[in-house]
C-alpha cells in the first residue's frame, strides 16, 4: 500500500460519512486520478469475503463498513440492533419520498389515501428523510437524506430502479378495471 492509499484508508476510517473522490483528493492534495488509483488498491485489500471490514461505495462517496460475517458478534458487543425494519406505512412513505422528492405530506396522503403524520414523523426521527423547503401552498416538503442512501447501500439516488418497474402488470390492471366496472354496473342497476 503506498502512502496515498494509507492516507485515504485513514480518512475513510475516521469519517462518519461517505467521502467523495473530490473531497479525498482535496484533503490529500492529490489529483482525483491518483485517489481513484489509491481506492483501487484499497479495494484489493478490502475485498469482500477476506476481511472483517469492507470498502463500500454509497451515497456518492466511499466508506468502510463491517462485513456481514461480524453481525452476530457486533450485536452482542454493542448491544444494539443495527436498523429496525420499516413498517408498511413507513416503507410506503419512504418509497413515495424517494421517487417524487421533494414531496409534501398532503401529497403523501393523497397517494396513500391515508394521513401519514406518524410514519413521516418516524422517518424524520430516524433521519431517513429531511425537510426541504416549503411548497407554494406553505406545506413542508420532504426529501431523502444521505443516511437513507447509506443505510440502503445506494451509490446515489439514481441508483434506485426505475419506478415504472413497480407498476402493476397489464393483467393486474385489466383485472382491477373489470372489478371496478362490475361495481359501477351494480350501482347503475341498483
Amino acid at each position: 500500500m503506498n502512502e496515498l492509499a494509507r492516507v485515504v484508508e485513514a480518512l475513510l476510517f475516521l469519517s462518519a460519512e461517505p467521502v467523495s473522490v473530490e473531497r479525498l483528493a482535496e484533503a490529500c492534495e492529490s489529483s482525483e486520478g491518483e485517489v481513484v488509483e489509491a481506492l483501487a488498491r484499497l479495494r484489493e485489500h478490502y475485498a469482500e469475503g477476506y476481511r472483517g471490514v469492507v470498502l463500500r461505495e454509497v451515497a456518492g462517496g466511499f466508506t468502510l463498513a463491517t462485513d456481514r460475517v461480524a453481525e452476530r458478534a457486533a450485536r452482542r458487543l454493542l448491544a444494539r440492533p443495527r436498523t429496525p425494519p420499516l413498517t408498511q406505512a413507513q416503507a410506503e412513505c419512504l418509497g413515495i419520498v424517494a421517487y417524487l422528492q421533494p414531496v409534501s405530506r398532503p401529497e403523501l396522503a393523497r397517494i396513500r389515501g391515508v394521513a401519514s403524520e406518524s410514519a413521516v414523523g418516524t422517518l424524520l426521527e430516524r433521519g431517513l428523510i429531511e425537510e426541504s423547503g416549503r411548497s407554494r401552498f406553505g406545506a413542508v416538503l420532504y426529501r431523502t437524506s444521505e443516511l437513507f442512501q447509506k443505510l440502503f447501500g445506494l451509490q446515489a439516488l439514481d441508483a434506485l430502479p426505475d419506478v415504472s418497474q413497480f407498476d402493476p402488470s397489464p393483467e393486474d390492471e385489466r383485472e382491477l378495471r373489470e372489478r371496478l366496472l362490475k361495481a359501477g354496473e351494480a350501482r347503475t342497476e341498483a
Binding site: A91, A109, R112, V114, F152, G153, P161, E173, L180, L181
Partner: protein
C-alpha cells in the same frame, strides 16, 4: 390529534377518518352511501373542541376530503342518455382506477425498499467521535478570536462581594420620623397640595411607611389633612386641618 384519528360516527361507517378513506379506495365502503358533509362537520367540531389549528394536518384533511368529494360528485352525475354503459365505465371509476394503480406502484416500491434494507443488514458503519486533536483548533493556524478583556471582566465580577444580608434592615432604621416630618413640612411650605405618591417618589417601602406615620402626626397636630376618593386610590395632602 392527527387527522387520521378523527373519529367518525356515520350511518355506513364508524371509525377513524383515515380508515374510511382506505376502505373507499379499496372499494370496501361505497362512497355513494357516505355523507361527506357529516365528515366535514365532524372535523370542524374537532377543531372547535381542541381550539387549535395544525396547518399541516388541516391541509392533509382538505386534500383527502377534496379527493373524496370529487370522486363522489362524479359518481353521482347521471350517465348521459344513450351512453353505452359497457364501454364507458364512468369517469369516477377511471379516476379510482388511476389512483389505485398509483398507490400499487408505491406499495411495490415500498416492498422493494424493505427488502433492500434487510439485505443491508450486517453492514455496520463506524460511529466513533473524532480524535480530540481534530475537534479543536490547531495551534499553528489559530487566530485571535477572543478579546482578553472578557477575562479581566469575568474576574472583576468575581471580586465583587455579595451584598451583606442585614444591611436592608440596618439602613431602614436610619429613616426617622423627624426626617420625614421635616420633608413633609417643607413640601407644605412650597405648595398648597401635593400627592402622597410624589412625596415618597423613589423611596423604599420602609420610608413610605415612616412618611405615612409622619403624615398622621401632622394631621393630629392640625398641620395637614388628606383626601382619598376610593380605597387604594391616590392620596392628596393639603395644608391645614380637616374641613
Amino acid at each position: 390529534m392527527p387527522v387520521a384519528e378523527l373519529d367518525l360516527d356515520l350511518e355506513v361507517f364508524q371509525g377513524p377518518f383515515d380508515l374510511l378513506l382506505t376502505l373507499v379506495l379499496r372499494e370496501e365502503v361505497d362512497l355513494l352511501e357516505v355523507a361527506l358533509a357529516d365528515v366535514v362537520v365532524a372535523y370542524i367540531d374537532h377543531l372547535e373542541h381542541t381550539g387549535e389549528l395544525d396547518l399541516e394536518a388541516a391541509t392533509e384533511f382538505l386534500v383527502l376530503i377534496a379527493a373524496l368529494l370529487e370522486l363522489k360528485s362524479r359518481l353521482m352525475l347521471p350517465a348521459e342518455e344513450g351512453e353505452d354503459l359497457d364501454l364507458e365505465p364512468g369517469e369516477a371509476a377511471e379516476e379510482l382506477l388511476a389512483r389505485m394503480l398509483e398507490y400499487r406502484r408505491y406499495k411495490t416500491a415500498a416492498a422493494y425498499l424493505s427488502e433492500r434494507l434487510a439485505g443491508e443488514t450486517g453492514f455496520r458503519y463506524r460511529e466513533a467521535p473524532l480524535p480530540p486533536d481534530l475537534r479543536r483548533v490547531a495551534v499553528e493556524t489559530a487566530e485571535a478570536v477572543y478579546d482578553p478583556a472578557l477575562l479581566a471582566e469575568a474576574l472583576g465580577g468575581l471580586l465583587r462581594l455579595p451584598p451583606k444580608l442585614d444591611t436592608g434592615h440596618v439602613a431602614g432604621a436610619h429613616v426617622s420620623i423627624e426626617q420625614r416630618l421635616s420633608h413633609l413640612r417643607s413640601l407644605l411650605g412650597r405648595v398648597e397640595r401635593f400627592s402622597f405618591d410624589d412625596a415618597v417618589k423613589g423611596a423604599d417601602r420602609l420610608t413610605e411607611a415612616v412618611t405615612l406615620f409622619a403624615l398622621l402626626e401632622l394631621y393630629k397636630a392640625g398641620e395637614a389633612s388628606w383626601e382619598q376618593a376610593e380605597p387604594f386610590g391616590p392620596i392628596t395632602v393639603r395644608a391645614g386641618g380637616a374641613g
